[in-house]
């Protein structure tokens, strides 16, 4: 029973969104929700109109999906590229240097990003980064780094230290130890960190809104917001719902894919010698 409630609690809004996206645009406000009202039963009045509208728009909706994917992948890659060596280096340190840095990172990851974005906007203007899709990856990586380093450092600390000792004695240098011994064992942690970073950049709104103004370069969150506010007179609930459904689909797919990678991460990340 509790499980059923929990399931309904978490899936309910999503299902409602999905339902709305498949109903005629005015059904929400006209009171015709297909639940036995004057318009007919639950089996009538389904439509893909909201979706076709989105995909036929200029620029078509998939363009925003692509933009978000590009920014997300670039941001995630940049984050991992920096976070892995940082975490490794940090783990090598002892005493006050390590714990001091960790405390700073925790503080940084707790900092409310909303306070940053005006300053970031100023930077973007000065450096000419506005309206560059890939430039968005920079603040995303910067904002994700503290958490990514913390997660990866914790994962490194969980590995038995003798493994690295053994590799040292076998003559492996720091980079070789990272490449052949530590990274394969960190694969599950790297995968879950990557997902978190990707989710963050996929749904990030204020920076995307302020840095990008040209329509074809908008990322998903900014684009959806724009759809929601496209008319002064009505709120296009149908189109809005369809956009959120389309926007969530890649995430759902990604999580399903990565879930397997996390579970079997150890075997998948193994390096054949």
């Amino acid at each position: 029973m509790i499980r059923a409630v929990a399931l309904l609690w978490s899936l309910g809004p999503l299902l409602w969104q999905l339902y709305t996206s498949l109903r005629p645009a005015d059904s929400l406000v006209s009171g015709n929700l297909g639940l036995g009202g004057p318009g007919g039963g639950i089996f009538s009045g389904w439509t893909l109109e909201n979706y076709s509208q989105l995909l036929a728009a200029d620029p078509p909706f998939w363009r925003y999906l692509l933009n978000s994917a590009v920014v997300g992948v670039a941001g995630t890659a940049l984050t991992l590229l920096l976070a892995i060596p940082c975490a490794y280096g940090l783990q090598q340190q002892r005493g006050a240097l390590r714990w001091g840095t960790l405390a700073l990172l925790v503080a940084a990851s707790l900092f409310p990003t909303a306070l940053l974005f005006l300053a970031l906007l100023e930077w973007a203007r000065q450096l000419g980064l506005a309206n560059h899709l890939l430039a968005l990856a920079l603040p995303y990586a910067a904002l994700s780094l503290p958490l990514a380093i913390l997660l990866l450092r914790a994962a490194l600390a969980d590995l038995p230290p003798e493994l690295e000792d053994a590799a040292r004695l076998e003559g492996l240098g720091p980079l070789q130890r990272l490449r052949y011994v530590l990274l394969p064992l960190l694969a599950p942690a790297i995968a879950s960190t990557a997902i978190l970073v990707f989710l963050f950049s996929w749904s990030e709104y204020p920076i995307a809104l302020t840095w990008i103004s040209r329509e074809p370069l908008l990322t998903l969150s900014a684009a959806i917001a724009r759809i929601g506010a496209s008319s002064v007179f009505t709120i296009p609930y149908g189109a809005f719902a369809a956009a959120t459904v389309l926007g969530s689909l890649p995430l759902v797919l990604l999580l399903l894919l990565f879930q397997r990678a996390i579970v079997t991460g150890l075997t998948q990340g193994a390096v054949k010698g």
């Binding site: 038995p160 003798e162 493994l163 000792d165 053994a166 590799a167 040292r168 004695l169 076998e170 003559g171 492996l172 240098g173 070789q176 052949y180 011994v181 394969p184 064992l185 150890l266 075997t267 990340g269 193994a270 390096v271 054949k272 010698g273």
Partner: protein
Amino acid sequence: MSALELRQLGRRVGGRSLLSGLNLRVEAGECVALLGPSGCGKTTTLRLVAGLESPEEGGRILLGERDITAEPAGRRRVAMVFQSYALYPHLNVTANLALGLRVRGVPPQERERRIDAVLELLQLAELRERRPAQLSGGQRQRLALARALLSQPALMLLDEPMSNLDAQLREELRPELRRLLCGGEAPVLYVTHDQQEAIGLADRLALLEAGRLQQVGTARELYEQPRNRFVASFLGRPALNLLPPRDGRQLGLRPEHLRPVLEGGLAARLLRREWWGSQQLLWLESEQGELRMMLPAEQAPPDALRLGWERHHELWFDAATGERLVRSP
């Protein structure tokens, strides 16, 4: 091949001395067991010699003519078998062995030949494709040993390599380990807290306590001529009986040296009998405190008995310092 020599080796961490003034020489082909209770500095010594930690109290590590004190771990040509084995969990048996050779630039054919040979030697050839998690405890231990032997080290270090195995397997593996390790060309330093293992494997024992070397010698020398109270009580099972100190001196008597006598000696009352196979261990209460005594299993001791011993079995110690007083009074 050449001997290992440790000179005044010490290590201090946060004001606490883990090891100090250690002098030890291990000849080429000799196996020395570093023996002592937990936390006595055995593992610290190994890690210093391996180069995984650096001696902060000075001291030097010589391998033949080479002073390796400041050399990085990877260049010392030292192999180590870890207590946890430290096998790479993501690599199968062959890959576990190959990684070190590959990094050192051993050509593939040579690599394969050496791996085949060592797998054959340690009876692991059937298990090539297995990952460490798919091996039994004994097989993992053999793989760890194989990895160490494979690098043809100038010095072999083992850190309690059998502590994760059950007692029976440990005993079975001891002769095999001795055959593989000792009598080779490299000196072997073997850390253990198990005296049985140390006696069975090593040519000489080096007994450590609280970061200080207490005595070095063959098992028999340490047993018969212990330098101090610690050595005397650490070595030998059941442990030495220490009588209460008197006049600044303390008498130690080994349980196996006590025997029942008809008159004279020490009066004692039987508390408990423990059956040890061909022997039995008696727990006795006397005016000198609780005593242990070994007796052949078939003898049935009376509840009250008198204990005697030979004068030459007496071990006298300075009550304050614990040093052995060689001339018994």
